[in-house]
């Protein structure tokens, strides 16, 4: 039984975390909203008065906007497709009996712990460098012309780097979900002569449904804001400028704070649309 005394104590204990997060959310958010309605150019005259919805209109009508949206969708969609499909296959494989399962699992998970700047630079130089990279060596070995990955196939290269980083996450979560599957059900289906494909589509896939949804939602939120991978590989060139990167350039590189802030508000709205779905699932789980 919670007493009145312990209730007020509980409120007191919660206060620091709540107040800090409230400040962390409200202060910058209010400032971004404020700047988004301003003509604010810190290096070129500073505050030039109210702009109404001009920044919002200009952000979406600039020639860089739609390509950035497209790039963002291609990267997020590509990485999701690769990590979820390969993640399911890999999780099913790792669930099978084998020797050295623990070691294999560590090998597969390892990329997740590599800091983004390291993985991006290692891939960019040691694998994708058109002169000295391993891929160039491999291509020459087969008599082919080495590819300038990050300029000629920039989007696929970034998708590949980011997929390598996130495949462990998808695999690990899907593996956890597969392991909670009742193995007797699968055995019964196998004894009844259900072929492997039918067992997969009728038993395994439905069981994984929720885990797949969670992987997609969480990854989408993180993938929408990937930054370091683009920052150190292409710097937004060669058609790799995502929405996040475009806003970063508007705000810090060209110091057009009003315009960048309007872009920021769009990004916040976009992330919230995804977040609502994720929160529903997490919230349901809290009741259980």
């Amino acid at each position: 039984m919670a007493t009145q005394h312990s209730r007020s104590a509980a409120r007191l204990m919660m206060a620091p975390a709540v107040v800090l997060l409230l400040g962390w959310m409200l202060v910058p958010l209010t400032m971004t909203l404020y700047f988004s309605f301003k003509n604010y150019l810190p290096l070129r005259g500073g505050d030039l008065g109210w702009a109404g919805f001009d920044n919002y209109v200009r952000f979406v009508s600039s020639s860089a906007f739609w390509p950035a949206v497209q790039t963002t969708l291609v990267i997020v969609g590509g990485v999701l497709l690769i990590t979820v499909v390969l993640g399911i296959l890999l999780a099913m494989l790792l669930d099978q009996p084998m020797w050295g399962q623990g070691v294999v699992r560590i090998l597969v998970i390892a990329p997740f712990f590599v800091m983004p700047t390291v993985s991006a630079l290692v891939w960019k130089n040691m694998f994708m460098d058109p002169v000295n990279g391993l891929f160039a060596h491999l291509w020459r070995f087969f008599g082919a012309e080495p590819v300038s990955w990050l300029s000629d196939a920039s989007l696929s290269s970034i998708i590949m780097i980011v997929s390598w980083q996130w495949l462990p996450f998808a695999t690990l979560i899907l593996l956890t979900a597969i392991q909670s599957l009742d193995s007797e059900q699968l055995e019964a289906a196998e004894m009844d002569g259900a072929p492997a494909l039918a067992r997969f589509t009728n038993i395994i896939l439905p069981h994984l449904g929720r885990a797949i949804t969670i992987v997609i939602l969480i990854q989408t939120i993180f993938l929408l804001s990937i930054f370091a991978e683009i920052f150190v590989t292409t710097g937004g060139a060669f058609g790799t400028r995502t929405l996040t990167y475009l806003i970063f350039q508007r705000v810090l590189e060209s110091q057009n704070v009003g315009l960048g802030s309007a872009g920021g508000v769009y990004a916040i709205i976009l992330a919230n649309i995804v977040a609502i779905f994720l929160m529903r699932i997490v919230g349901k789980n809290l009741d259980a």
Partner: protein, 276 residues
């Protein structure tokens, strides 16, 4: 009846899984191997796998030229400081939500989670401006605070899911026996909560160590951690594969080892308890 697995099938699984595992791990292995080569061997064609003259000179060059230890120290301070600060703030909050839940507990938890979804780039300029005005730009303390705030929702969530697994009856029994709130926290809850707290610390240290948006945008020289140090290799001069590898190996080695211990907590921490 346990499923009978033939040795042959097990051998096929093993071969396939090891092949894929090594393929995925290969970039890391290659980086570690390259860090012990000379620059000429690092770009040799055909590539040399093991049969090169192992050398440690890249490590000493990286340390001498760039004062690597300072970046390492910044990473330790930022990741460690933000995690400790976060735990101090989150433990009481998670405790009260797990053991004295009210009607609003669920809403508060979900709201905390929603702050984690805020895209960093949306608040980049305000934070940048506040940092300039408060003199926090390129300071360790500034990054400790930001890193603590972005990870606080995850810390509270993880602790909450761990605390909720501690049976409330034990706390009630302690209360019946006349334990004060302080004693209850200190002697009953803490020993049972230590594994959960340790996992939370571990995962958040890893997340903070690898964070590469705020660390790149809010540091220049003094407070730059390893993420920013490695990024400085993106515009290199001359041959540098071996040196890049040495710097990278040093930056990821501690986390690979910690990560090995945190595999299980990773799922719980990153799915906010939705997958266990």
């Amino acid at each position: 009846m346990a499923r009978a697995v033939t040795t042959q099938r097990k051998a096929i699984n093993t071969t396939l899984a090891w092949a894929i595992g090594l393929l995925i791990f290969f970039p890391i292995l290659w980086t570690i191997l390259t860090s012990f080569k000379t620059e000429a061997q690092a770009i040799a064609n055909p590539p040399i796998f093991i049969g090169f003259d192992w050398t440690l000179e890249n490590y000493s060059i990286v340390q001498e030229r760039s004062n690597y230890m300072r970046f390492l120290w910044n990473s330790v301070i930022i990741a460690g400081g933000s995690t400790i600060l976060g735990i101090i703030i989150a433990v009481p909050a998670a405790w009260s939500m797990a053991f004295v839940p009210s009607k609003r507990t669920k809403d508060i938890l979900l709201w905390m989670l929603s702050t984690k979804m805020l895209p960093a780039v949306g608040v980049l300029y305000p934070i940048y401006l506040l940092f300039i005005q408060l003199g926090l730009l390129d300071s360790r303390i500034g990054l400790v605070i930001v890193m603590m705030l972005i990870n606080l929702p995850i810390i509270v969530w993880m602790l909450y899911t761990y605390f909720r697994e501690i049976p409330g009856e034990i706390l009630e029994a302690a209360r019946m026996d006349g334990a004060s709130l302080r004693e209850e926290l200190l002697y009953v809850l803490t020993p049972m909560a230590i594994p959960g707290i340790a996992s939370t610390i571990l995962l958040n240290f890893i997340l903070a160590w690898n964070e590469a948006f705020w660390t790149l945008n809010l540091t220049a020289v003094d407070a730059a951690p390893l993420t920013a140090f490695i990024a400085s290799y993106s515009s290199p001069e001359g041959l540098f594969f071996a040196k890049l590898s040495a710097a990278s190996t040093m930056a990821i080695a501690p986390i690979l080892i910690l990560g090995w211990f945190s595999q299980k907590q990773l799922v719980r921490g990153l799915t906010f308890g939705a997958v266990k």
